[in-house]
């Protein structure tokens, strides 16, 4: 059972899947870190992005990796608009209201997709979907290896934005001390919307990385978002490094649970871990004490 010939590929594949989980979680944790709310619409937005990537290929013939270049700014704008014109004004600054509004958005987006596209599951057939890379100890699917690289690049870019640009500085300031940031002239509503936009843009990239090897249907986002919640809680709410490491870790756990317990129970392993972490250490492994 523990033969390295089975174990090593399972761990490597888990790491590759985990990287994309990490990217989804990165968007979620960024929004949490700054706005201090859990975005329940995250999964539905991922579904929307996956549909967008799917139809960009089906209708326009765009390769998903190429489509990412267009979808990322588009979803940034979508996220910006949602926070600026829907969530922000509707919530009246109350956390409970924000929870309800993002939940309502999730319901609207998911069911609008169901209404328009039906419950069918769709897949893209790309020429390179089954290409593999030989890394000596295992064969890895090419699209997932590309995905791993892209996620690391995106994380680096995001880190540079946060560390070096003025907008990044403003985002960090608002995350730390909202009132102080406002007093020193930072437009908090704008920073909130930019953060939400960045978080949503992460989803567009994640969707383009997923679509070559994955399927899409109106409920697909839910599967990812609960995993993303787990990662975010595990890595510490608002911690960018935590999201990435948490993502890789959860990917490996899922892969090993799937190996030893069977596919349908692989998910249960994640949920149980999630509940345990929430109950025992809600601030996460990397987060500050809440």
């Amino acid at each position: 059972m523990l033969s390295p010939i089975i174990l090593v590929p399972a761990v490597l594949n888990g790491l590759l899947t985990g990287a994309v989980y990490g990217l989804v979680a990165l968007g979620l944790t960024l929004i949490y870190g700054v706005l201090h709310i859990i975005n329940f619409a995250h999964g539905a937005l991922l579904t929307a992005a996956m549909f967008a990537a799917f139809f960009a290929h089906r209708l326009l013939g765009l390769d998903p990796y190429l489509a990412a270049l267009g979808l990322t700014p588009l979803f940034f704008a979508l996220g910006y608009g949602l926070q600026r014109f829907v969530i922000g004004p509707a919530a009246h600054g109350e956390d409970r209201n924000i929870l309800l509004v993002t939940l309502a958005l999730a319901v609207v987006i998911e069911n609008a997709l169901l209404y328009v596209f039906g419950a069918d599951t769709r897949t893209l057939n790309l020429a390179y979907a089954f290409d593999v890379v030989d890394v000596g100890v295992a064969f890895l699917a090419l699209p997932r290896v590309i995905g791993f690289g892209v996620v690391l690049a995106v994380a680096l870019v995001l880190w540079l934005i946060l560390a070096l640009t003025d907008t990044g500085k403003a985002i960090r300031a608002v995350a730390k001390e909202k009132l102080g940031a406002e007093l020193s002239g930072i437009d908090v509503a704008h920073v909130y919307a930019v953060t939400f936009g960045l978080g949503t843009a992460c989803l567009a990239i994640a969707a383009c990385l997923l679509i070559p090897t994955y399927y899409v249907n109106p409920h697909i986002g839910n599967a990812f978002v609960l995993v993303a919640f787990t990662i975010v809680v595990l890595g510490g709410m608002g911690s960018v490094t935590g999201a990435l490491i948490g993502g890789l870790f959860v990917g490996v756990v899922e892969s090993l649970c799937g190996l030893y317990l069977g596919e349908s129970l692989g998910q249960i392993g994640i949920f149980i871990m999630f509940i345990l972490v929430l109950l025992l250490r809600p601030s996460g492994l990397f987060g500050e004490r809440a």
Partner: protein
């Protein structure tokens, strides 16, 4: 919002009880049974969310437990349907107490509480979709046995009166809570938990009690569902749809009020039926509209329809003397 008096409750229940005497239409009665069922489930959410300020996104956990416990006891162990119904409620309350004990002890509130309740409901849904005792992916079909002893009836009217009676009991429970010291503690927790703790309220115990009562009321809805539709599966019992309906009804109607869940359930279900009339039976569209209504209510009428009515009445009452002055002047 003024508290509902016993007379108010009596009038509302009496008016609703008279409906089957006026119409024998199955369409009308079926609509009302479902609306009152949602009102009951929403009333459960209202106890914890409306009065206690703890927003659960996973009330499906209690609804589903009520439905499954009742269905499993009847079909697998031959327990009498009425006894199974009562045990379903007890099972839901137990699950509520367990989840409450775990989450409140860890100090989870706000976003975290919403998240962990959602996760518990999802775990139960996945378990129910693979475990043999819940019929796994197939679900449980309760055997047709149209006798009152088996909690099954030829016509819809008895079902309607039973769900109305359950709802009436929930009105009384909520009124009792409102008037008790426990209710005052609960509202104190909602308004400012730290302050409540500082003046000596045992906030954990108060929240735990509220969650148990809340879960029991919602589980009654689940057990009734099993009896009315004679079918339960993991998607119905533990699916996210019921968690959303549970919070939608009280928020639309008026959060933290006795009649809010009933008002909200009637309005939301009416909207759902209207949508079906206009567009045919399109999957998803009714939920799109529910979501839109939820956003609009949170944005423009945070106290729900009950709050809107109260505001209008107040405005009207203020406007009247002015009109009179103008008439005299």
């Amino acid at each position: 919002m003024k508290q509902a008096s016993l007379a108010h409750i009596a009038v509302v229940v009496a008016v609703l009880a008279a409906v089957p005497l006026l119409t024998a239409s199955n369409v009308v009665l079926n609509f009302l049974v479902v609306a009152l069922l949602i009102a009951l489930v929403g009333q459960g959410w209202n106890v914890l969310g409306g009065y206690g300020g703890q927003y659960s996104f996973g009330h499906a956990a209690f609804f589903g437990t009520g439905a499954y416990v009742s269905a499993i006891l009847q079909t697998r162990y031959g327990v009498n349907a009425w006894a199974a119904f009562a045990l379903g409620i007890a099972g839901g309350a137990l699950v509520g107490a367990l989840i409450g004990a775990l989450t409140f002890r860890s100090g989870l509130k706000g976003s975290y509480f919403a998240l962990v309740t959602l996760a518990f409901a999802e775990v139960l849904r996945i378990l129910a979709s693979v475990a043999p005792i819940t019929g796994a992916g197939v679900g449980i079909l309760i055997t047709l046995d149209l006798r009152p002893q088996a909690f099954q009836f030829q016509s819809r009217a008895p079902f309607y009166w039973i769900i109305l009676a359950l709802l009436a009991v929930s009105f009384l429970i909520v009124r009792l809570i409102e008037q008790s010291r426990f209710g005052a503690w609960l509202v104190a927790v909602r308004e400012n938990e730290e302050a409540a703790k500082a003046v000596g309220v045992n906030t954990q115990r108060v929240k735990l009690a509220a969650m148990t009562i809340s879960a029991a009321i919602t589980a009654a809805g689940g057990a009734f569902y099993a009896q009315y539709f004679l079918f339960v599966d993991s998607g119905i019992a533990y699916g996210p749809w019921i968690s959303i309906e549970a919070l939608l009804a009280p928020i639309v109607g008026g959060i933290g009020t006795t009649f809010g869940p009933l008002l909200g359930a009637l309005v939301v279900k009416m909207l759902g039926e209207l949508t079906k009339l206009v567009t045919g039976d399109a999957p998803g569209l009714d939920l799109v509209i529910y979501g839109g209504v939820l956003i609009l209510i949170v944005a423009f009428a945070p106290r729900g329809i009950a709050g809107l009515i109260a505001d209008l009445r107040l405005r009207f009452a203020r406007a009247r003397p002015r009109l009179r002055e103008r008439a005299h002047g």
